[in-house]
């Protein structure tokens, strides 16, 4: 004779909910408390290193979305390409990472920043200046394990929720 049907099941359910009442909640209060995202995060932006880039254009060719636009001119005196325009349309980008993996000179990275929501589509296009590494736009460890090691470890839960109000 199984007792599950005769109210025992309900009693079990009630103990589960009352236990949760006294546990600390498994939430984070987002703008004030943040979890550390994965160190290999495929960020919503690209970060580009102007010094290392040779303007070879591999990234633009490999991109399945055609999201990268690159215009170069030749500098005869120095015998190299000058990147005149480098633009990535993050609205088209699918974060596949092919451009980063294909760059022969390690000049392209994903960013570790996930708060990239914009109000207009036009704002999604990253110009040259918006692609440089800054303290706010950190480089993600995707495809670069040495960079990943320097980032903080990922956290899945906030250990002790202190209520912000």
């Amino acid at each position: 004779m199984k007792f599950e049907r005769y109210g025992i099941g309900i009693a079990k359910g009630l103990t589960v909910t009352i236990k949760h009442l006294f546990r600390h909640p498994t939430v984070s209060q987002y703008p004030e408390q943040r979890l550390n995202i994965s160190r290999r995060f495929r960020g919503n932006e690209l970060i580009w290193n102007q010094e290392k880039c040779t303007g070879c254009g591999t990234c633009a060719k490999t991109c399945p979305q055609g999201a990268i636009e690159i215009i170069t001119s030749t500098d005869m005196a120095e015998n190299k390409y000058v990147v005149e325009k480098y633009e990535a349309d993050t609205g088209y980008c699918i974060q596949c990472g092919l451009c980063i993996e294909s760059c022969p000179y390690e000049a392209l990275y994903f960013s570790h920043n996930f708060e990239c929501a914009k109000y207009r589509r036009g704002e999604l296009v990253q110009g040259k200046e918006e692609m440089l590494e800054t303290p706010e736009r950190k480089v993600s460890g995707y495809f670069y394990p040495d960079k990943a090691e320097k980032l903080p470890k990922q956290t899945l839960l906030i250990e002790k929720v202190t209520e912000k109000r």
Binding site: M1, Y6, L14, T17, H20, R23, P25, E163, R165
Partner: protein
Amino acid sequence: MATAGLNIYHLARLQAVSPDWPGGFWWHWLFFTVVIIGFVLTMVMGVIYIERRGMGRMQSRLGPNRTGPFGLLQPVADAVKVLLKENIVPAAADKLVHWLAPVIAFAPALMLFAVIPFENGALLADLNIGILYVIAISSVSTVGIFMAGWGSSNKYSLLGAMRNVAAIVSYEIPMVLAIVGVVLIAGSLSLNDIVVAQNVPFILLQPLGFLLFFAAGCAEINRSPFDLMEADSELVAGFHTEYSGMKFAMFYLVEYAEAVAISAIIATLFLGGWKGPILPPWLWFVVKIILVFFAMVWTRTTLPRIRIDQLMAFAWKFLFPMSLLNMFITALQVLAGWPTELVWVMIIVNIAVMAILVLVWSRFFFRLGGGRVEI
């Protein structure tokens, strides 16, 4: 009709004067009307806060915590928001009925408190048929809800309202029969006398009656798991789908005012009302209301919504026979004089009776759809 009304009025006047309360004056009625309205509104605010925070914590969330300290002002913010919203009335709606429905639904929730004692004799009208009044008045709000469903001219609203009527008609019976047990022991229908008679809280003498009344009460005011009439996943929001702004606020208020009223009735009938040591009586009463309400939040968080056939089967095949049995057993015990002489024996026997009855009935007699599955 007129004479009956007059009689009730006279009885009310006679009974309202209790030994230590200066009742019977015009300001008694005024004072208590104001107190009841203030009490219900503040309790509703507190209770909404408890429900949202408690439910949040039980679901491993925090609940609203941004407005005011600990989110205490959330109900106020909600009220302001809802009052500023546009009032939309569907073009095909029955305008008058649509407009009257929230008022008719709200009035009974307030009127219920007229017979509930806050202290010994401190109540608006100590009717000697208090319980009957409670039962009669509490079903009036169904009319308001049915008007809302009908007046909206929306199939989901009507469906929700019909479900509500069906639920109330079915659950009224076990509810009344569960109360009969209490009335038999107390020997009075007046709520104040019932509280005075509770030297031991009746939840111990009537454990089965308490469970039946709690379940039927939850179903009567349509709280989860019996919230079929506003089942959001099936009926959008049931009877108040077409309501917005102030009128929606009224329905929201009704929902929680009824929950407070049922908690108050349960606290009065089964938990000893205002009785308790040390603290002032009215505080004991509030504490007990909140305890009962917390139990409602607890069951709401835990149990999934039941189907409409389960709702009916639960009322007619489980609660109804159980409450009949409970009534007969209690009557026999009262005849034998147990409530006055053998209180502890009665407590133990009744708890055993409850366990055995629930087990046996659900094992051998309770079937959904007669044991057949029909599609």
